[in-house]
């Protein structure tokens, strides 16, 4: 009994660890692929060199982030089978086809055009190259569409039956794909990816604005200004929309997974006459109360029910064996919301600076934007922890318990693989992050190189060999 519990816990840690590492890269590359498409489109439309320079600057970073996303994603596609085989057997008929659609419509599209996007500018010309960039950007979106449909079905399953072998079987595909939490989750996650990327781009722009200020340059570089301005527009526009989307997602969760919202809010007790909003406190799962709670009366009812005195049920209406781990959900939710508020503040300050014509001359704003560089990743991870830990103790909410989902593996096997994942992920991906930071530390230059060095790939018969180059023979020997 003890050993099966250990193996289950280890498998959960392994899945959580590998998926948390993985989500960082797509969260960045979904936004960055779209940003690259916008930059290239603007370059084609206006012919301004700065857009091409920025495109070439960010595509080098994209190449590294994308490679890390691919290899960490490959792990995910096999881990359902290796570690969650009972889950795979039972949900395969419903979730397998959705994931297969992700592979067919998204992964191949991204991978098939990535080569052209990274290396093919000189071979296919700017217009076809732009199409390749668009294909990659759409691929990242399709990928988000399908995998979030899968994930949402695990939270709000519908459109299925159960066969004699105990498998979930599809009855209505439309209902399965567009399950109740999917539209909210999709919007919330795609906006999160855009915000995350905008904050990274903004931080890099801010860093170079700050550096240019300290240098002898009479004016900051055009590349740094352009990326900073674009990023701040995104933050100013998307952050408030995201908070609105998050609120709607929360209300949807209240309808379908009330226990998760109770954990997020720290509501152990029911409040028939308006529930307080607990700002901070120490949730005590054992005792079923929040210690040292700092709370605003009735505000939670206002937020969730749009009425001060609306009754809200607490975890006392849910059997204890169905409680999610309240402290984790409670805190991760607050971290996510806190980050969201800071993003809103950054966007508002940038609008203020812009109105006063000081967007590029306000070091305090640049310092704030720089500090907010990683905020998107923190918010994404905290948000995922909130929603996934909040789904516990189920894998398919209300229908399949996590404890009944795992593979029949012994603890040493899972422990060994977990160790290997932790060591290798930290080693490999921290190197990747260092390489990305090194690229970001360099300023975007006029005439920036892309991934290719600018030398066309020499294919037989296209590029003349140097010895046959007429210009070269006229030049004196060096």
């Amino acid at each position: 009994m003890l050993s099966t519990f250990d193996a289950l816990l280890l498998a959960r840690i392994q899945f959580g660890f590998t998926v948390a590492f993985h989500i960082i890269f797509p969260a960045f590359s979904i936004g960055l692929a779209s940003y690259l498409a916008v930059l290239e489109g603007l370059w084609l439309a206006t012919g301004r060199q700065v857009f091409l320079d920025l495109f070439k600057y960010w595509i080098k970073i994209f190449a590294i982030a994308f490679a890390m996303g691919v290899v960490s994603g490959l792990v995910m596609s096999y881990q359902f089978g290796t570690n969650w085989s009972v889950f795979s057997d039972k949900t395969g008929p419903v979730l397998g086809p959705l994931m297969a659609y992700e592979v067919l419509s998204a992964f191949f599209l991204e991978a098939g055009f990535l080569g052209v996007m990274l290396f093919g500018m000189n071979k296919v010309g700017p217009r076809l190259h732009f199409l390749a960039t668009l294909a990659v950007a759409f691929g990242t979106f399709f990928s988000a569409f399908w995998i979030l449909s899968v994930n949402s079905w695990m939270h709000t399953p519908q459109g299925h039956g159960v066969n004699e072998a105990g498998q979930f079987v599809p009855l209505d595909w439309w209902a399965i794909v567009f399950n109740p939490s999917f539209p909210y989750r999709l919007v919330h996650m795609v906006l999160a990816a855009y915000l995350t990327t905008a904050l990274v781009v903004g931080a890099v722009g801010a860093w170079h604005l700050l550096k240019d200020r300290l240098s002898t340059l009479s004016q900051s570089s055009e590349g740094a200004r352009t990326m900073f301005s674009m990023a701040m527009w995104m933050a100013a526009i998307v952050a408030p929309i995201q908070i609105l989307a998050g609120d709607m997602h929360g209300i949807n969760t209240l309808e379908h997974q009330p226990a998760k919202v109770m954990a997020m809010e720290g509501h152990f007790e029911s409040h028939p006459e308006g529930a307080p909003l607990i700002l901070f406190g120490l949730p005590n799962q054992e005792a079923g109360r929040v210690d040292y709670a700092l709370q605003i009366p009735k505000l939670s009812s206002l937020v969730l029910k749009h009425s001060l005195n609306a009754p809200l049920k607490g975890l006392d209406t849910v059997p204890r064996e169905n409680w999610p781990p309240v402290p984790v959900v409670f805190w991760s939710f607050r971290i996510m919301v806190g980050m969201g508020m800071l993003m809103l503040l950054l966007g508002a300050l940038s609008l203020l600076a812009r109105a006063r014509g000081k967007l590029y001359e306000w070091p305090a704003l640049h310092g704030f934007a720089l500090a907010m560089g990683p905020a998107g990743f923190v918010a994404v991870l905290a948000g995922w922890i909130t929603t996934e830990v909040g789904r516990q103790p189920f894998t398919v909410y209300g229908l399949l318990r996590t404890a009944d989902s795992a593979s029949p593996l012994s603890a040493p096997a899972v422990g060994a693989s977990l160790m290997a994942f932790v060591v290798i992920y930290f080693a490999v991906f921290s190197m990747g992050v260092i390489y990305i930071l090194r690229l970001m530390a360099k300023p975007p230059k006029p005439g920036e190189h892309g991934v290719e060095t600018g030398v066309p790939i020499r294919t037989a018969g296209i590029t003349p060999a140097p010895a046959h180059d007429p210009d070269r023979t006229l030049q004196p020997a060096e």
Binding site: I64, G81, T82, Y101, G112, L114, N163, T459
Partner: protein, 335 residues
């Protein structure tokens, strides 16, 4: 029309196609990783790397389709096979991580390029060995208990699975060396040519030993290969392997650029057909048939509708991508 089709069989062929597409495409780029230590640091290695850099990511996606397709069409098989092959699958994934990031990292960090070259080779070797071992372990039989894997976590390890793993190492190495013969020129091509010669010998030897050992494993392999009248058909496979081997050495001797790679692919196709003869219609050999493991019909139809449009589309733009980067490569190309 679709009502009369046995979609389970259709799906078995779709997944077999995905797996074979993976072997065809990722085989040569894993092979280049395996052969990396035999190439000189500098232009030779850079050229070899450049010849696969624009396409490796797409190549690896077929592996995701193989796994994802199995999950969708044969969830029970996916649920039994993955835990049974736990250690080799995890090792393969970790190997693929190292070699995947090495494509980018070795260009970004010239000071540690030697380290990332070792990672590229190590990752490729581990991933290949793991794939071969997984295949061997699948062939030698997996313990099944109800709807789950019923064995221990070292069951996959046996002389037979090691033999298949090493054999695949030679096989992918051969695909890599013949790919370089096709895509490069000068000293690198000469070196690839001489490597191809002994790799082809080793691969044929491995094919011979694995084929000789397989009928003696537990299961119905003997029956499927040697019972009349099957034997009239199955006997053609080793015959064709012998002919392909002969043609290969002939092509190599004549200095052909493309033929060695294409014939090497032909050898893999024959092995794959042989594998099909051995296990069809089982998906977990000797334990679970494709019909027992299949998803309900509505799952099969739902994904087949998309697959029948998307797979041809994927093949078309994959071909386009290969066409863009066609011809001989050199070290100055990308990056």
């Amino acid at each position: 029309m679709i009502e009369n089709l046995d979609l389970t069989v259709v799906w078995a062929f779709v997944i077999a196609f995905a797996v074979f597409a993976y072997i065809v495409m990722d085989g040569f780029d894993l092979g280049i990783g395996i052969l990396f230590p035999t190439l000189a640091p500098g232009p030779e290695r850079d050229t070899a790397m450049n010849s696969v850099a624009p396409v490796w990511d797409g190549n690896e996606t077929w592996l995701v389709l193989g796994g994802g397709g199995l999950f969708a069409a044969f969830p029970l098989a996916y649920a039994i096979i993955m835990p049974a092959l736990y250690a080799p699958i995890i090792a393969m994934l970790l190997g693929l991580i190292f070699r995947g990031v090495a494509f980018e990292f070795r260009w970004r960090d010239p000071a540690h390029r030697a380290f990332w070259d070792v990672a590229f080779t190590g990752g490729s070797v581990v991933a290949t060995l793991a794939q071969g071992i997984a295949l061997g372990a699948l062939l030698q039989g997996i313990k099944v208990d109800g709807r789950a894997y019923g064995g221990g976590w070292w069951d996959w390890l046996s002389p037979f699975s090691i033999l298949v793993g090493v054999g695949l190492l030679f096989g992918y190495g051969l695909l890599g060396s013949t790919w370089l013969v096709m895509r490069t020129e000068g000293p690198l091509q000469d070196r690839a040519r001489s490597l191809s010669l002994w790799l082809a010998g080793a691969t044929l030897l491995a094919i011979g030993s694995v084929s000789a050992a397989t009928p003696f494993l537990e299961g119905k392999y003997w029956e499927r290969w040697f019972a009349m009248p099957n034997v009239l058909l199955t006997a053609q496979v080793p015959l064709l392997v012998a002919i392909a081997g002969f043609l290969f050495f002939l092509a190599l001797k004549k200095g052909a650029d493309r033929a060695p790679f294409l014939i090497a692919l032909g050898l893999f196709l024959l092995c794959f057909v042989g594998l099909g003869i051995s296990i069809f219609p089982d998906v977990v050999p000797g334990r679970v048939t494709i019909w027992e493991a299949a998803s309900p019909r509505s799952s099969q139809v739902f994904i087949l509708v998309g697959a029948s449009v998307l797979i041809p589309l994927i093949l078309a733009y994959t071909a386009y991508s290969y066409w863009v980067f066609r011809g001989k490569v050199d070290s100055s190309g990308y990056h």
